[in-house]
């Protein structure tokens, strides 16, 4: 994989995701990891950044189950009678990222546990903007 040639931006982030890879940035100056693809380190402003492939394992740190859905999720069949779960995932390498949480009972959020182990499960692979999703590990 010619990781070094890809621009540090969202187009590359989603291209990696389409390949089943959650790729972010590691700062070569201070070591800061970011689960978002950015051309400059947000901690030390260094431009010396490199791609970092996350394992895709993490845990659920906070979540919500959404019943009043935006148009894009409505088109996927979600709505008042079919809520979905979105959450904040803490990756095992440290950074957090927002993701769709699938394979959980979003209609019964009391059965979803903060802290549960998750693993990457990219959806809509055909799209230029695949959906970053996790499922229970």
């Amino acid at each position: 994989m010619t990781t070094e040639t890809r621009a540090f931006n969202a187009v590359s982030f989603f291209a990696y995701l389409k390949e089943g890879q959650l790729a972010g940035i590691r700062c070569r100056s201070c070591g800061k990891l970011s689960a978002e693809a950015r051309p400059m380190c947000q901690a030390c402003h260094s431009r010396d950044v490199e791609w970092f492939q996350f394992s895709g394992r993490g845990q659920l740190s906070a979540f919500t189950c959404i019943s009043v859905v935006p148009n894009a999720m409505g088109e996927k069949g979600f709505g008042r009678n079919n809520p979905y779960c979105s959450g904040i995932v803490t990756l095992e390498e440290g950074p957090r990222i927002s993701a769709l949480i699938l394979g959980v009972d979003a209609a019964n959020p009391q059965n979803i546990a903060t802290g549960m182990a998750l693993t990457l499960d990219v959806r809509d692979m055909e799209s230029d903007r695949p959906t970053l999703a996790f499922v229970p590990a």
Partner: protein, 428 residues
Amino acid sequence: MAATISTAKRRQLGRPVSIVGAGLSRFGAFRDMTTRDLFVEAFQDLIDHMDQGIDVEDIECGYIGNYSSDLFEGQGHTAPILADWLGMTPTPITRIENACASSGSALREGVMAIASGMYDVVLVGGVEKMTDLPTEGVTDVLASAADGLYEVPAGLTFPGIYGALAKAHMDRYETSLAHLAKVGIKNHTNGALNPKAQFNSTLLDMMERRKARAEQQGQPVPDWRDEMDFLNDPRANPWIAWPLRLYDCAPITDGASCVLLVSSEIANNFTDKPVHVVGTGQASGRPLHDAEELTSLSAAREAAAQAYAMAGVTPRDIQVAEVHDCFTNAEINATQDLGFFEPGEGPRAVDEGRTALTGDRPINTSGGLKAKGHPVGASGVAQVIETFHQLRGEAGPRQVPNTNLELGLTHNVGGTGGTCVVNILRRG
């Protein structure tokens, strides 16, 4: 006290700035009104309530907060249209956009314009016309205040991100659905005393009206005993973004707000009761997933620290506050982030009635965004207007009982903590 408040560099205004008048449109859903009509209504209210009058020709500059007339009604470049409709051309007016903190930021810009010495008389305000779109459309427009690359594609909506914040608070502290409900009940109790509020009614009255309507229409009459019973009925109070329910959310509102700022040296030309802007702070924050903590907004803590430092006061000195309760849990977060209560003490303060109109720390006497309404770009200055009236002792039936009010604070959040503006006002 104040464990959450860090220290901030003490910045000072170049010269003192005062608020000498305030105007508010009605808040609600006004099908036939556009952005410009709403702002004209607020401006006329200002003109009509200037203690010693104002010649519009004397206003030198304006900053108007507006989140998204572009997406809500297809109108960009709103500021010159407002200048025209106010009869103020060629006076420069600039639109300020910081999501729901747009007019909190606009007020700061006006304060700095006067403090710089460039202008003596500046109009600041905010306006939002939201009700042209259906709820799904409004949900999309509000979601665009979040990160379109890394939050929105995860399905997160504006209530969704606040829902995740609420869940994190519940995991860490004793916060419960009942605490959120109590914030809503309190704010509607205050809103019932505010004739400008979109919901000028207590939740108990709203519940009784629904019962009466069911009876009138020959339908089964729900057996709700009290507001809490009503709020716990999923037919009356459905989930929006668990753990947030319908009555945890501020409504979709059309409305506008404005105040007149002047150099304090000339304040007495306009009123005997000016209110001084003694502290102002603003900070930026990262998306929730990249925040240091999931139970607090770092931008709120930083903006508060800046404002307290400029004013030379502590959280303990603040006697009345309007905080950004776009969702009921946001009010609990705010009272902790502002240092009114220790982290985790917010829910208990609600239980003990400390934030009620008669409590030792009255919060959102206007009804807050929850009951007064939340025309997003107008809310920051609307908060300042309530505080202005409280400090001048002219808040009528919702005037706080403390007869020696000196200091009030406003806390205005953009998006889900991307921006926070805190302003501190002192009675003149």
